[in-house]
């Protein structure tokens, strides 16, 4: 069902776990199946220098969390906001249609973390 890339990220999730003193936290829940994702970012000079996650969800949810933290690192805030759920899914070699909403969760977690960061600095 899943691509090799998804399975690889599921087996060896990158940037997994909590972050000490994050600059932004995104907490989102999945209304479709009830899963939970938390994404933490560290920002310096408007660049996301680190990202970590914790996820309660399916294989696709874990793989997309892992991938989105990879994609976002080194990006400016504006660049990070451009990352769509499709970009995350594509980077994983695609997702089964029924699992697209899991990548939406990853996108929302990122947006919510950035929003939290912006609120904190303003």
């Amino acid at each position: 069902m899943y691509s090799e890339k998804v399975m690889e990220h599921f087996r060896n999730p990158r940037n997994m776990g909590e972050m000490e003193n994050p600059d932004g936290i995104g907490k989102v829940g999945n209304p479709v199946c009830g899963d939970v994702m938390e994404l933490y970012i560290k920002v310096k000079n408007n660049i996301i220098i680190d990202a970590r996650f914790q996820t309660f969800g399916c294989g696709a949810a874990i793989a997309t969390s892992s991938m989105v933290t990879e994609l976002v690192k080194g990006k400016s805030i504006d660049e990070a906001l451009e990352i769509s759920n499709k970009a995350v899914a594509d980077a994983l070699g695609g997702l089964p249609p029924v699992k697209i909403h899991c990548s939406v969760l990853a996108e929302e977690a990122l947006k919510s973390a950035i929003e939290d960061y912006r609120k904190k600095i303003s």
Binding site: R11, C33, V36, F53, T55, C58
Partner: protein, 399 residues
């Protein structure tokens, strides 16, 4: 969850389907090659096929204590359930407009009832208690003068909980209402006897008893009024027309014969309970879903809180272990198990469900291996679960 090479293969999803028994394969190969005649023909090749068919029928009848003329072969368990319910409805439609079933039936009963509901038939879905058990008193209360069939499963595929079918069949009989039970999960695992149960109709599927897929049977007690739902030739006395699947039926017959001789519940239940007790000792916040004792001896359904089920299935697969889950994430509809929901299991706990279903090939070594690797896997997955983190925080606060 590391990239473990899949050398081991521990199959613990025997409620989904079973591996075919080698002796069944041999009989089927033989039937495929040599028993090619059409059983409806008059010459010896056809008569030979007919004889094989009847031998299989006797074997299948024997496993449930029925007479062979009470067995109709179908294209599997789903079709047996459809034939039972639609068939009775057709025969009794002028008598009434009400069906009683339960909230935990397999899709093949559930969706059959849903379809009839759309056609205007009233359906009562009986609730279950927290063990997944229907209360016969509830059934008594639900019966109406226009009830035409009661269909309650013998045991549940997800939890293994065994229903008090004989009590319910007695109530049905007192009311003069045909009683059907989906015994697909029970056959081969526990003793099932149609006389003891007193049911009118009972469904069986071959692939759950180490036989081939796509073949099953409906037991129809002599004297039960039922109409076919497929139309064609006179095969299976017109209840299931179409040239018979002789190799499938022969395989089913062989599987039934073997199962009849080998029902051995204690060993399996011992292994299963050992698995649960050991996991409970090593993993906190694990709970059993299903009845503690009135349960199929091979079935263990547990929720391991804070870890999502599909993820656990994938992680266990990497360790060479095949199991099922009740998690919403693993279904096409993204809805959690309706069986667990009917039992009052909250969605966030149903989400964390694994079903182990042991089989004839399960060894002590298999169980020991699972006990060894599971705690590590759960620990790793809880490590990235925000729900587990929250739980730890709450626990700290209350200490």
């Amino acid at each position: 969850m590391n990239n473990v090479k899949k050398t081991l293969k521990i199959y613990l999803d025997n409620n989904a389907t079973t591996p075919i028994h080698p002796e069944v394969i041999r009989e089927m190969e033989n039937a495929l090659e040599f028993t090619y005649g059409n059983p409806s023909t008059l010459y010896s090749i056809g008569k030979e096929a007919k004889a094989k068919l009847e031998e299989a029928r006797t074997r299948v009848a024997s496993i449930i204590g029925a007479k062979s003329e009470e067995i109709v072969f179908t294209g599997g368990g789903t079709e047996a359930n459809n034939l039972a319910i639609f068939g009775i409805c057709k025969a009794y439609r002028n008598k009434g407009n009400h069906i009683i079933t339960s909230k935990i039936e397999h899709d093949s009963v559930w969706n059959t009832c849903k379809s009839l509901e759309r056609d205007g038939i009233d359906i009562t879905y009986l609730p279950v208690d927290s063990y997944g058990m229907v209360d016969p008193e509830e059934l008594k209360k639900a019966i109406r003068p226009d009830t035409i069939i009661i269909s309650i499963m013998h045991s549940n595929n997800e939890t293994g909980t065994i229903q008090p079918v004989n009590d319910m069949a007695r109530i049905a009989k007192d009311g003069g209402i045909p009683f059907h039970t989906d015994a697909v999960q029970s056959i081969g695992k526990i003793k099932v006897n149609v006389e003891d149960l007193g049911v009118n109709l009972l469904s069986i599927a071959s692939h759950k008893i180490y036989g081939p897929k796509g073949i099953g049977a409906l037991y129809i007690r002599k004297g039960t009024r039922i109409q076919p739902i497929l139309f064609g030739g006179h095969q299976e006395k017109g209840y299931r027309p179409g040239t018979e699947n002789v190799p499938g039926i022969v395989g089913f017959g062989k599987a039934a014969e073997i199962a009849d001789k080998n029902i051995e519940t204690e060993g399996l239940a011992f292994l299963r309970d050992h698995l649960y007790n050991a996991l409970k000792e090593k993993i906190e916040r694990i709970r059993l879903n299903g009845h503690p004792t009135k349960r199929l001896p091979n079935t263990l359904n547990v929720s391991i809180e804070f870890v999502e089920g599909e993820g656990m299935v994938l992680a266990l697969d990497d360790l060479g272990i095949s199991v099922g889950t009740g998690s919403a994430c693993a279904t096409a509809t993204l809805e959690p198990s309706y069986v667990l929901a009917a039992m009052g299991v909250p969605p966030q706990i149903a989400h964390c469900t694994l079903r182990f279903s042991l089989g004839r090939d399960t060894t002590d070594g298999d169980i020991d291996y699972i006990i060894e690797v599971m705690p590590e896997m759960v620990k790793k997955m809880r490590g990235f679960s925000p729900l587990y983190k929250e739980y730890l925080r709450r626990r700290k606060e209350t200490v």
